[in-house]
Symmetry: C2
Subunit: 150 residues, 2 copies
DNA sequence: ACAAGTGTAACTAGTCTTGTTACAGACCTA
DNA sequence: TAGGTCTGTAACAAGACTAGTTACACTTGT
């Protein structure tokens, strides 16, 4: 599947902003380093997050981005929807001239059903906050003993 | 999203096979007409369904495909999984040489969380049988008065 | 034997994602 | 007010994937 990693990158980005909250703004360059990609890619994603009021940006020197709310108040569904990637599954529409009347009727039903499934996925994402993700990361860091290594 | 319509096509195809169950085998050509695509595209999808024992194929003249079980016993999850499209969301792995230790730890957590969300979606799909979809189609056909038109 | 089907390879065209470079505009600070 | 930092965004290239086609070998019923 030509599935994309934008959601993963967006979550990672938001996580960085949450972790760096005390340090004020974080530049796209810094995030790009941690996420291991280009700063433009990050700015594109941050643009989507800004559009949906999850992140705010300060332009110019000393600028960068930061979360508008606490990590407890941001769910993965917020991030998912902010990316505006459209439906997970495409259901090509058949034109009304199509010979098979059954086919014309089946499509909207399939679209409906798949949309319900996607809604379930979003509901699940809505139950997970950015804080939850960070907590899991912290737990894992302790488990793997990375704290000692540092 | 470069999301693909394979799932929709596969469901449509399976629905056709279910509807035509009494008529015996259905050729890929016939299905392609109804679905409005090429017969090779259909055969590719049917290949996946055969691999997962949802469909059986008879070669040669008079051949074609048919369901191996009743529509009540086939869920959309069966079809979804048969397509073997891999994870819905990609989470690129960072190599261990990556400078940011946090980043290395965050990724698997994100992958875990997104996998849980996808599992929820599959659970939803598992609750919908092919028979359910066909029932909905029938209902809609009556609602829109298509029975009269014919 | 022949016609009707399937399986599969190969190729094309179109689209999407990611990575990059480039540059204008915003903004802090000296 | 000048210069260095940032962001936003356009433009382009590379690579991957989908969908559509053609072509052809192989299977099988009549």
């Amino acid at each position: 599947m030509a599935s994309n990693s934008r959601l993963a990158i967006a979550i990672h980005t938001a996580g960085m902003l949450a972790a760096m909250a005390e340090s004020g703004c974080v530049t796209s360059e810094k995030i790009a380093e941690s996420v291991s990609t280009n700063s433009v890619v990050i700015r594109r994603i941050i643009g989507s997050l800004v559009k949906h009021d999850l992140v705010e940006v300060r332009m110019g020197a000393g600028g960068g981005s930061s979360l508008t709310r606490s990590p407890e108040e941001i769910t993965l569904a917020d991030i998912y929807l902010a990316l505006e990637e459209g439906s997970l599954f495409q259901v090509p529409v058949l034109d009304q001239e199509h010979e098979c009347k059954m086919g014309i009727t089946v499509r909207p039903v399939i679209a409906e059903v798949l949309q319900e499934a996607e809604d379930d996925l979003i509901k699940k994402l809505r139950s997970i906050t950015l804080a939850d993700v960070m907590k899991r990361v912290r737990t894992r860091l302790i488990e793997t003993g990375c704290f000692e290594e540092k």
